[in-house]
């Protein structure tokens, strides 16, 4: 029965899946992400090595990959493969949270600036421009060192820099949506500004925001890796960036402990790529190009 | 003398949802000097018919079967290179919908026409420019304006320029798709006057595709009415417009508001145009036809010649 609510949701999902399947990048990206999320979630089932700093067998340190330690060991004898599995949790978690928060900030800024215009728009867009113009990494470094390195501060620092892209994209979308007849039609029936923003603009911008957020996760993971690598990460948490930090701190490059450097590097790259690919695929579906008539 | 003959043309499109039978067994014939109006609503296949004739179908469209004979040349099997060198613009040119917006904004208008001329003919630039000035005179633009850019032209002027472009190489046939739809009423009248004048002066043949029946009545001497991928009725303009025989044509024409007729209440055709992936069985119009009989839902009506030059596809007449 074409007219029921469940039938329509089924149709929407089916149409979405069909469209998504058309993007090869999207499929690849999805596979990558599913793999890493799976591994991160079931890390404790996949490995019985410990990641505690005291949990390593010291005489086994700096061992290259073997049947016991598939990716070798670190400077205190911990199994690197296990570190990487648990590290995925931190990296992904920070990535997601930072992306959601910066996506949220960007959306609010973009919606307000785009819908209200006038001085509100000017003010918000100037702030956006200022944040955009300041080089991201140095700013993050300054903030991180001022605030101190713990889990939430890292997320805060990344979010505070990362919202500008979303803000601009959302504002652009809102500006063009604002001109469409159905927005004025809402005014014509007496809807308030809040209702128009919440019920009409937001649902129409939402897919774009999701695509932006997913792309944002990729970027946030890179930022976190950079911060941790440079020593500003939370030393008590095991993230891929921290692993790289320790690797370089004990001179893995000159001592050629490649198993300490390459695996975390590949993971960061792959996951970031994965999110980017998925983000691209979503963007292609969501981007208001040709309206279906 | 027959200029264009289309026989049993089938053009289908492949889409995600299925095969769209956009043009399904269309046949028409044009003599030299005819101006044929191809009329129908959105989705009836008129634009696809035109694109098939010009071999400009998009990548998912294909001529499945049928013949297109243009002055003795088989257009369907002609290879792309010959088509470009010999036919396009030299013998058959086109004016697209919204063509005035297709003028390249970074080139002067005159340059664009010169470009079209020299890419088809081995001719010096000065001679080409002289031709441009001649064309501008013909279409009613001050020749000095040839050195202007498109944004300096008004809407009506742009349309005239596009018409000039289509006539640049003295084609035998000009195909125009909704050439006046985007224009205001008075400019539209100016352009229609120009079109009538050019048809007379140059003895040019024209196919005019539009949903606006009054534009066809205003400029053409023959008309073909399309519905859901098929031609339901065709003939000379007086017969079709004054005494239409097909129920669809009748429905369209009796409900067409005219500024000269008495105020009236309309009796619209019920229902709406069908889906071309799964069109109705038999006669495609039968679900909306006030005279539908049993055979109409079962058998596709054959096209018969009611009287000289007047063709119709309707079971009411096949008796």
């Amino acid at each position: 029965m074409a007219g029921t609510k469940t039938a329509l949701y089924k149709r929407r999902i089916r149409d979405f899946i069909l469209q998504y399947k058309e993007s090869k990048l999207g499929i690849v990206g999805l596979f990558i992400l599913v793999f890493f999320i799976f591994v991160a979630t079931f890390a404790n089932n996949l490995s019985d090595h410990s990641i505690k700093p005291t949990g390593g067998i010291l005489k086994d340190r700096f061992k290259p990959p073997s049947s016991k330690y598939i990716l070798g060991t670190d400077d205190v004898g911990r199994d690197i493969a296990t570190l990487i599995m648990y590290g995925g949790r931190i990296s992904l978690l920070i990535g997601f949270l930072a992306a959601i928060i910066s996506g949220g900030i960007g959306t609010i800024v973009g919606l307000t600036a785009g819908y209200f215009g006038g001085w509100k728009e000017d003010l918000l867009m100037r702030i956006t421009d200022i944040v955009l113009v300041i080089p991201g990494l140095p700013l993050m470094l300054v903030l991180a060192s001022l605030l101190g390195s713990n889990f939430w501060n890292i997320i805060f620092v990344i979010s505070v820099i990362g919202w500008t892209g979303t803000a601009r994209v959302v504002r652009a979308q809102v500006l063009s949506l604002k001109e469409r007849a159905f927005i004025e039609s809402s005014k014509a029936i007496g809807a308030s500004d809040l209702r128009i923003i919440g019920y009409h603009l937001l649902p129409n911008v939402f897919p774009l925001i999701v695509a932006q957020m997913i792309l944002g996760v990729g970027g946030a993971i890179l930022s976190e890796a950079a911060l941790s690598f440079l020593g500003l990460g939370d030393p008590s948490s095991v993230s891929w960036g921290m692993i790289l930090h320790w690797a370089f701190a004990v001179g893995s490059l000159s001592s050629n402990y490649w198993w300490f450097i390459i695996p975390p590097g590949i993971c960061i790259t792959l996951v970031s790529l994965g999110f980017t690919f998925v983000g691209f695929a979503l963007d292609q579906i969501v981007n208001p190009r040709i309206r279906r008539r | 003398m027959t200029l264009l003959e289309v026989e049993n043309l089938h053009t289908y499109f492949e889409t995600r949802e299925g095969t769209v039978k956009a043009v399904d067994d269309v046949s028409l014939k044009m003599e030299r000097g005819d101006s044929l109006g191809l009329a129908g609503e959105s989705g009836c296949g008129k634009t696809t018919t035109m694109l098939s004739i010009m071999r400009l179908l998009p990548s998912n469209g294909k001529i499945i079967s049928g013949k297109i004979n243009f002055d003795g040349i088989d257009m369907v099997s002609l290879d792309e290179d010959e088509l470009r060198r010999k036919i396009r613009w030299k013998r058959m040119s086109m004016v697209f919908q919204g063509a005035m917006n297709a003028l390249n904004p970074v080139f002067r208008v005159g340059d664009q026409i010169v470009q079209a001329i020299v890419s088809h003919e081995n001719i010096e630039k000065e001679k080409a420019w002289a031709r441009v000035e001649e064309l501008f005179q013909l279409v009613g633009i001050d020749p000095n304006r040839a050195k202007d850019y498109p944004h300096e032209f008004s809407g009506g002027m742009k349309q005239r320029a596009v018409i000039a472009l289509s006539l640049a190489l003295n084609p035998d046939l000009v195909i125009a798709d909704e050439p006046v739809t985007a224009l205001d009423v008075i400019v539209q009248a100016q352009i229609l006057e120009l079109v009538r004048e050019l048809i007379n002066k140059l003895n040019i043949s024209m196919i005019l595709i539009t949903h606006d029946l009054s534009v066809i009545a205003d400029t053409c001497n023959k008309a073909a009415i399309m519905y859901a991928g098929k031609i339901v009725e065709q003939g000379d303009i007086m017969t079709i417009f004054k005494s239409p025989e097909h129920p669809y044509s009748q429905g369209l024409l009796t409900n067409y508001p005219s500024i000269k007729s008495e105020r009236m209440r309309f009796t619209p055709i019920s229902g709406r145009p069908p889906n071309l992936i799964n069109p109705p069985s038999g006669c495609r119009f039968h679900p909306r036809c006030p005279f539908a009989m049993e055979v109409c839902s079962k058998k596709v009506p054959e096209t018969i010649e009611l009287e000289r030059g007047h063709y119709i596809a309707c079971h009411l007449k096949t008796n």
């Binding site: 074409a2 007219g3 029921t4 609510k5 329509l8 007849a181 159905f182 004025e184 039609s185 809402s186 005014k187 014509a188 029936i189 007496g190 809807a191 019920y199 649902p203 129409n204 309206r291 279906r292 008539r293 | 609503e41 008004s154 205001d184 009423v185 008075i186 400019v187 539209q188 009248a189 100016q190 229609l192 949903h211 606006d212 029946l213 009054s214 534009v215 009545a217 205003d218 303009i237 007086m238 417009f241 004054k242 429905g251 369209l252 024409l253 409900n255 067409y256 508001p257 005219s258 500024i259 000269k260 105020r263 209440r265 309309f266 009796t267 619209p268 055709i269 019920s270 709406r272 145009p273």
Partner: protein, 326 residues
């Protein structure tokens, strides 16, 4: 004709849009440039009447329609709706007014929210105004708009409907609050020919059944002749002629009106072809002609036409014109 007859009275309505000038330009000339989109427009619409506002693109007809509904803020002027000045209402008053006056847009592909179901879209006015019994009212509204069976349409999305169906949805939404007045902005110009007449018939039936008045905005005089009771012709922001529809078409006095009527092609190939009795195109609205705005294209132009703007006057019962010839 008593004033009780008049539902909407528009007095000296103006909408000027300032033209953005570059820095250099604004330093050089002191004069601020404006596009005088609607310039001192005055007319009235009676109870149960379909008033046609006709003209070519840029004449100000759509802007006038939106100004009347206070969807665009006017530069000056009054709009009296049943004696109340709509343009000076505050927020609460405007919201009340919205229940009584609605709009139908030209583009059925743009005027429906693509992300809302038909049910949500048609019920929204009820939610905004806190009116209950939602399901029943939506069902009734869809029935009134001839979308049957109504429940079939509840959970559909706009892109699944045809142009004609979408326009009916727009009508259902406009009707659900039981308005007294509807502004219809070229409601059928983007629909297929065979659908147009059924939508127009629907609109007229609603007028007969529910006693609604319409402002019918159009560029198509042929259709206007069959729908409207009275027509006002606009040119560059002003009303140049106004009369009952048959009087206007059979006895057009303003040269522009005459040109418009002569330019309309007829679906009867045996009658006289359309004629362009005036040359040129609509002038630049930023640099308007002096005096009468139409003088640059008028065959009957006199000296005074270049200098003085003609006032609109009544030349016979119900027939007004702004022209120095009269």
């Amino acid at each position: 004709m008593s004033s009780k007859d008049k539902l909407v009275v528009i007095e000296n309505l103006k909408k000027y849009y300032p033209v953005r000038m570059g820095l250099l330009q604004s330093l050089r000339s002191k004069e601020r440039l404006f596009v005088k989109a609607v310039d001192e427009v005055s007319f009235h619409i009676k109870n149960g009447e379909i008033y046609g506002l006709a003209g070519e693109s840029g004449c100000g007809k759509t802007t006038t329609g939106k100004l009347i509904l206070n969807l665009i803020t006017s530069t000056s002027g009054k709009v009296m709706f049943k004696g109340e000045d709509i343009l000076s209402l505050k927020k609460g008053g405007i919201k009340e007014f919205r229940k009584r006056a609605q709009i139908i847009y030209q583009d059925p592909y743009e005027s429906l929210d693509p992300r809302m179901t038909i049910f949500d879209f048609v019920s929204e006015p009820l939610i905004v105004h806190n009116i209950g019994d939602i399901e029943k009212r939506v069902e009734e509204a869809l029935e009134t708009a001839e979308l049957t069976p109504p429940r079939e349409f509840f959970y559909r999305f706009p892109h699944e409907l045809s142009g004609g169906q979408r326009q009916r949805v727009a009508i259902a939404r406009a009707m659900i609050l039981n308005p007294e007045f509807i502004v219809a902005d070229e409601p059928v110009s983007m629909l297929d020919v065979s659908i147009r007449t059924s939508i127009l018939n629907l609109m007229m039936r609603l007028r007969d059944e529910f006693d609604i008045s319409y402002l019918y905005i159009t560029h198509d005089l042929a259709t206007a002749k069959h729908i409207c009771d009275r027509i006002g012709i606009m040119y560059l922001g002003k009303i140049v002629e106004e009369a009952e529809v048959e009087e206007l078409i059979d006895n057009a006095l303003h040269p522009y009106t005459q040109a418009l009527i002569a330019a309309v092609p007829d679906p009867d190939p045996s009658v006289e072809k359309s004629k362009a009795i005036i040359k040129g195109e609509i002038p630049d609205p930023i640099h308007l002609p002096t005096g009468c705005r139409f003088h640059t294209r008028c065959h009957y132009m006199k000296d005074i036409c270049m200098k003085v703007e003609p006032e609109i006057k009544e030349v016979s019962e119900g027939h007004r014109i702004a022209c120095h010839l009269y």
